[in-house]
């Protein structure tokens, strides 16, 4: 007997949260401080709200999709040769995001603890794990995400360690003073919330009991809560000026923790973030694989995943310092932002047309 391969509500919440959470958290307080100035942590609400609106738009698509995959909906009305460039674009963006996310993680790790190791070896190992996880299907990925979630979420409680040093005075009564907003940077803050858009591809793996859209909302809520709490602590622990200067304020925060028998546990804890990175990476490459299966239905999913990951691995050789990776990530987060907005809009439009024409919507 096989367990049913539909996602449960709890798993979906955790999966969405785990795709969203990533290394961006470590630099988030700095970026917020630079962009928004005093009490920059409040901006997390704004971004969370944008994501929530986005998910709300997607829920329109989900309601009218009748559980069909978005590709079925698109292909019903749009000829495949028109869709092919869109598909190729999606595959490229998602595959690149997968490899950039893991490369960023590894380069930071290299900076913190392994200055002489070749990062591409680490990248290879992470990619192998990603491939392994990918081969298990989305249901097992969600299961792994749940376990990884418990490995990571307890770290929130480590922040209680800073209650003693936390000063409300550092937060100041002024909101958003002394920052300089740059459009480009806003995208990269928003990148910390990316991952929710992949919910579009989960339609066929959910049933009405999954309450997929509510799960996505809850997952995003969880992410916002974690980000908000971490940033609040960072803003109350460091001064604004300090935050602006630090490259990874959350890492410095963790480095401050001292236990009688161990200290500077930030690189051990940073190691645990591999789990969130794995889920993020695997879900992006999974999405790329799902799209490529539409283009090459005859090739097995496992083979496609392998090809995509190999190509992504080769491409990830090109940016070899952290700042380059961050530049690339910025470009791709702009693209991803518009995909996250445009894809549901496109599907919604197609659904609207189909309903007008009276075509069956739940085939």
């Amino acid at each position: 007997m096989k367990t049913e391969e539909k996602l449960s509500p709890f798993h979906s919440v955790i999966l969405i949260h785990m795709i969203q959470t990533g290394v961006a958290l470590f630099s988030l307080p700095r970026v917020l401080a630079v962009q928004f100035g005093t009490n920059g942590w409040l901006a997390v609400f704004l971004f969370g709200a944008i994501v929530a609106i986005h998910i709300w738009l997607m829920s329109y698509v989900y309601r009218h999709s009748g559980g069909r995959s978005i590709f079925d909906i698109l292909e019903q009305s749009i000829p495949k040769f028109v869709l092919s460039p869109v598909y190729i674009g999606l595959i490229c963006v998602w595959a690149m995001l997968c490899c950039l996310v893991s490369k960023e993680y590894i380069l930071i790790f290299k900076m913190v603890a392994f200055p002489t190791t070749n990062p591409m070896i680490f990248e290879l190992v992470v990619n192998l794990l990603t491939l392994w996880l990918l081969g298990m299907g989305v249901y097992n990925i969600a299961k792994a995400a749940t376990v990884f979630f418990w490995f990571v979420i307890w770290m929130v409680f480590l922040l209680t360690f800073f209650y003693g040093e936390f000063r409300w005075a550092r937060l100041t009564p002024f909101v958003f003073q002394g920052g300089e907003l740059k459009m480009k940077e806003l995208y990269s803050i928003y990148a910390a919330f990316f991952g929710y858009e992949l919910v579009l591809l989960l339609f066929p793996y959910a049933n009405p009991q999954t309450k997929l859209m509510r799960a996505a909302m809850a997952g995003n809520g969880l992410t916002v809560a974690v980000y908000l709490y971490t940033c609040l602590i960072a803003f109350g622990f460091f001064s604004l000026q300090q935050l602006k200067e630090m490259l990874f304020p959350v890492l410095d925060l963790l480095a401050y923790i001292k236990l009688p028998f161990i200290e500077r546990i930030e690189n051990l804890l940073y190691g645990f973030f591999l789990f969130t990175i794995l889920i993020t990476a695997v879900m992006y490459v999974w999405s790329a694989k799902e799209v490529s299966r539409r283009m090459f239905p005859r090739i097995k999913g496992g083979v496609l995943g392998f090809i995509i990951l190999t190509l992504a691995y080769l491409v990830s050789y090109i940016p070899d310092v952290l700042s380059e990776v961050l530049d690339w990530l910025q470009i791709f987060s702009v693209i991803e932002f518009w995909i996250a907005f445009g894809l549901p809009a496109l599907v919604g439009l197609v659904l609207l047309v189909q309903r007008r024409r009276g075509q069956p919507s739940n085939g």
């Binding site: 299961k143 051990l268 940073y270 190691g271």
Partner: protein, 502 residues
């Protein structure tokens, strides 16, 4: 994975083919096909050269008796078979054989298997009968050596399936406890019994277990720990996917929880399915103590699991790559103890871990009296001397010893052995890549476990799929008043087990 499987299958196939080739050389092909009427001549022919077979002929009444003397209960044999036969005349034989202990045997195969399992065959003219007087030698029901408890019942299963069944039946006095008999092994024809409680066990699991066991095609099965490797979901995994226990109380509780239980004749271990990873950390003791103690012990076991997996690896990782993680005071101690050691920490750790495994293996194979000597040799000579000779550091000995002790805290020996083996992988990765290696290893373990299933249900229940109500009886041992439902993994049709409110 598939490549491994094909290779393995190939390896398994060859000896079987060779055995077949050997068989065809024999002069006589056994013809005990079902439906062939049994005859004395044919039966004697089948048991040719079996000098342990007893053949008694009573020519005056035309009766022949065949049995294995060592498989039958002599007292019962005399009372049920031999005495009646001795005291009758030829014309009374027909009446005697109408008594209910004499079962007419319809076909030859059934008769031969009957004799082999300790029954007595009686030939009278064209008629053949079997009498069940089997009473094989068995070990007394004694305490379990591998699963001892302080409070609670001390009896354990022995190798006789009948005794195991009686121990379970004594605890579960319900006509709903059903027993299905299967046979495994072309040569050994080992009896396997599947037990479940009707209306509590999910029949999907029962049918799946039966299907898998009937699908086994192998010459011999000697133990239930061996059998479960033929029927588990992922034969390549390092983790046991079915729980085995020698304790009747534990097995009775598994039955009551709606799980399927299997007994293999000749094995004191009884398996239950489906099983989750976390079940291996429970012991019967937890339920016989007050709930807080049970909870504390259970949490201690999970802590022990963490220590076993990571402690030595963390030592290696910290002393190889992350010296900054050691506080200043401790740094001096560690530096002093490591100053004389000429090897990198990973070699040092592997050396000591291997030594501990050697000691454990030697201790397990040797009689208890010599086992003590091993303990002394290992503890004092190797432990102390290795430090003094400057081969290892004191701190490492502490790390290795505590992770070894922690591994023995896990109640299931099979699981604790698996975990000890995984530890080596972690140490190697920690020696190679420090904390990153540790994270990689943990991720790999989790990924592997996420893909595992037991009879098709998730191995990581109740963490994934997430079942919070099960946590009360997995990670802690909540007061009995709160343990209201049966575990969800077994998917029992009848979920509530406790209707009492207190």
């Amino acid at each position: 994975m598939n490549i491994f499987r094909t290779i393995l299958q190939g390896m398994l196939k060859k000896p079987a083919d060779a055995a077949n080739a050997g068989q065809s050389d024999m002069a006589y092909e056994p013809e005990n096909v079902p439906g062939v009427k049994p005859t004395l001549v044919h039966t004697l022919y089948e048991f040719q050269d079996c000098m342990d077979l007893t053949h008694r002929a009573y020519p005056e009444i035309g009766v022949d008796v065949l049995y294995f003397g060592h498989l039958v209960d002599n007292h019962q044999l005399a009372q049920d078979v031999l005495n009646p036969i001795l005291h009758i005349r030829a014309d009374e034989v027909h009446m005697l054989l109408r008594q209910t202990q004499f079962w007419p045997a319809a076909d030859s195969k059934e008769l031969i298997e009957g004799i082999l399992s300790g029954q007595v065959a009686i030939f009278n003219g064209a008629d053949t009968y079997l009498v069940n007087v089997s009473g094989p030698k068995e070990r007394q029901v004694s305490t379990s050596e591998s699963e001892t408890v302080i409070t609670g019942p001390h009896d354990a299963f022995n190798e006789q399936a009948g005794a195991c069944l009686s121990l379970i039946r004594k605890r579960v006095k319900s006509s709903h406890l059903k027993v299905i008999k299967l046979s495994v092994g072309e040569v050994t024809k080992t009896d396997v019994y599947i037990l479940y409680i009707q209306d509590i066990a999910n029949m999907l699991y029962v049918r799946e277990a039966i299907r898998r066991i009937t699908n086994i095609e192998i010459d011999a099965v000697h133990d239930s720990n061996m059998l479960i490797q033929y029927i588990d979901d992922n034969p390549m995994s390092i983790f046991p996917q079915f729980l085995t226990s020698e304790r009747p109380d534990a097995i009775a509780s598994k039955l009551a929880a709606g799980r399927v239980v299997g007994i293999v004749d000749g094995s004191p271990s009884v398996f239950s399915a489906p099983t989750s990873f976390f079940e291996f950390f429970s012991s019967s003791d937890d339920y016989y103590q007050r709930w807080m103690l049970g909870t504390a012990t259970r949490l201690l076991r999970f802590l022990a699991f963490g220590i076993t997996i990571t402690f030595t690896a963390l030592y290696v990782s910290v002393t190889t790559y992350h010296y900054e993680m050691i506080p200043e005071n401790l740094l001096l101690t560690i530096a002093e103890s490591r100053s004389k050691v000429p090897f990198p920490p990973v070699y040092e750790a592997l050396l000591m871990e291997t030594t501990i495994e050697l000691l454990r293996e030697a201790g397990a194979r040797l009689p208890t009296k010599i086992g003590q000597t091993i303990g002394i040799v290992g503890g004092i000579v190797i432990g102390q001397a290795a430090v003094q000779a400057g081969l290892t550091s004191n701190i490492l000995i502490i790390a290795v010893a505590s992770s070894a002790i922690a591994s023995f805290v896990i109640p299931s020996y099979v699981m604790s052995a698996s975990i000890r083996l995984i530890r080596f992988g972690l140490i190697l990765l920690a020696g190679l890549w420090g904390n990153f290696g540790l994270a990689i290893a943990l991720a790999a373990i989790v990924i592997h476990m996420s893909g595992l299933t037991s009879l098709g249900s998730s191995y990581l229940t109740p963490v994934a799929p997430f079942k919070l109500e099960d946590w009360r009886d997995i990670f802690i041992r909540a007061p009995f008043g709160l343990l209201v439902k049966r575990p969800t993994q077994a998917a029992p049709p009848n979920k509530v087990k406790n209707k009492m409110r207190r």
